[in-house]
Amino acid sequence: MQSTAHDFKENVEAALADSNLQDSLSKLKTGFSERRRQAAERLPEFEVLRDHARDIKNHALAHLDFYLEEFERKVTALGGHVHWAPTAEDARQIIADLCRSVGARSVAKSKSMVAEEIALNEHLEALGIAPIETDLGEYIIQLRHEPPSHIIAPAVHLTKDQVADTFLEHHSKLGFTKRLTERNDLVAEARHVLRRKFIDADVGLTGANFLVAETGSSMLVTNEGNADLSNTLPRMHIVLASIEKVIPTLEDAAVLLRVLARSATGQESSAYTTLNTGPKRPQDLDGPEHYHVVILDNGRSAVLGTKMQDMLRCIRCGACMNHCPVYGAIGGHAYGWVYPGPIGAVLTPQLIGVEEAGDLPNASTFCGRCESVCPVRIPLPGLMRHWREREFERHLTPRPVRQGLALWSFMARRPPLYRLATAMANRLLALFGRTDGRYRRLPLAGAWTRYRDFPAPPPGGTFHAQWKRRRS
């Protein structure tokens, strides 16, 4: 997918002005976040499980080569094939070759963020192979030619009415000429349209939540059943997964499953959790004849063994974005690439470069909610801070910011001067007509006051002055 992360500020302006988006986002606070809280409260062991989930992923990352090879050994023993893709281009090539090997005209796809990452759909289309998104949210945005705005709810930015318009526009040629108004009718229509496409598809492509080294299984966690139709009806099943998805054993999967669904949607368990291990057995009455797993690196292995390795623990639950005030204000598209929210702000600079995506880690107040809900305890604010430092070191930070920081650091290293300056600024601010303890407009702070009021200094002088008084 083509990144627009470098246009982050313009993207944000557009998002803030989009009333449909703002309507949709307002539901996040009462939707996923509240359900996650309730699910966590229902399981007394939840916090201990999070610690354990973190440790399992750390263990897997420290022995990643071993577990990947073990996984490959098991898959091969059962008649499946493992392919290794150092880059996105390699993965596209491998998948295209596999599709052509069975003369595929269409591919039933179950939602895969890694497939978005490697821009698989565009590649297949160029080769005359039709990719069909079958997850309802992905299907909706495919019809609208939009990228996903959330890693587990790709159409979360849309209202029901927008979906109704999209279906009317695209389904009327199939005989569905009535504009629907009820959610269940929209779901039923999509089910009907997609059922036919499942049956016609030559290849089913899914992602994987986990690859289990012990058994050579790919594990998929879904709710709709489309991933299971994708891995059962077509002649070939291709699993596309990145290297960090491998975990040692089924016992480890049990721990991760207990935190995954609860963190994502607040469910005790998703409707479908599926282990796929190899192709159809000789006596089986259904299932694919060919089973392939494509393992993608695409810049991830370079993070191993560094301070940034923690980002590879991510199990893609989406809790960080569900709880992020910035994501809640601007939605996912503004981030400009595949992974939005706090994890996107950390992953994107790694995967496509800090030059392109350096603005993303700046879009955080470091409130820490993301870290507090992350099921594998990724220190997201700390990782964002790391990118800010990188950006600064590489002189990518805008000149006014650098000059401002230089001025501040000059003052901060001279305490008497600093105190004098802040006391003066405090008194000066009082001259600019304060109302209700806030400024609606302030010289040199237009970028701030355009969107929100600036808090007035509290009466009683600067922090230093108040501190001194209290201590005496």
Binding site: I140, D228, A271
Partner: protein
């Protein structure tokens, strides 16, 4: 596929990982420790809810299955076929079903139900109702576990609008780990069936305005017969 490219890619990727981890291929004591962990997988923290006595397991399973929009009926072996028909009548569904060709299900007296027409085999696109057994069920979350094989085609779990599951009470276990143990007993370690489906209630989606709707792609209804033998 070019095998030379495949193996070059493999080496490049694995060597990249090892370079970052600042070591070569795992060897010696460290390798033995990891192999040991793989051979005897340690269980994670115990979850109290997954470790109830047998009688309470059944109740907990039913509670969570119903919370996830499945319906549950408690029956004896003799009553099971009549309950299937009664369920189909209650829901205005045709008395026709695709049934898994399994010896476990063959043991039920389906012939006693004159109205009921059964087709043994895999699921097909037009099927309204399927009847299958279950390998196990998980009390902790109200989840059914289905293993694929000649006696249980995966399509029966997915294609019909209504899925009727015949579950032996004795197959209800506490948590996921108990299912893994059963899988290892039934199948050779590392030779799982093609598919293990764990299914919790009917198919659903929250993709339109985060509001749950049932019957996205899989069954809209799930009815579970808990059979006391």
């Amino acid at each position: 596929m070019n095998p030379a490219v495949d193996s070059a890619n493999r080496a490049q990727l694995l060597n990249g990982i090892r370079r970052s981890l600042r070591r070569g291929e795992l060897a010696g004591e460290e390798r033995r420790a990891v192999e040991q962990r793989l051979a005897a997988p340690p269980r994670g923290p115990a979850v109290a809810r997954a470790a109830l006595p047998a009688s309470e397991k059944v109740a907990l399973f039913c509670q969570w299955a119903e919370a996830n929009n499945a319906t549950v009926a408690h029956v004896t072996v003799a009553d099971a076929p009549a309950e299937v028909v009664a369920y189909l009548v209650r829901n205005n569904l045709p008395a026709q079903a695709a049934i898994a060709p399994s010896s476990q299900l063959d043991a039920y007296d389906w012939a006693s139900q004159k109205m009921l027409s059964l087709r043994r085999g895999r699921g097909e696109a037009g099927d309204q109702v399927s009847i299958t057994g279950a390998f196990a069920a998980i009390a902790e979350t109200g989840t059914l576990v289905m293993t694929s094989g000649p006696d249980h085609p995966v399509t029966l779990n997915l294609l019909p609008e209504t899925h009727v599951v015949v579950l032996r009470e004795a197959d209800i276990v506490g948590g996921y780990e108990d299912v893994w143990d059963r899988l290892r007993q039934r199948y050779d370690k590392g030779r799982l069936p093609r598919t293990v489906n764990t299914i919790t209630g009917p198919s659903r989606t929250g993709d339109i305005e985060q509001t749950i709707e049932l019957g996205a792609h899989g069954p809209r209804r799930m009815h579970i017969l808990v059979v006391r033998e």
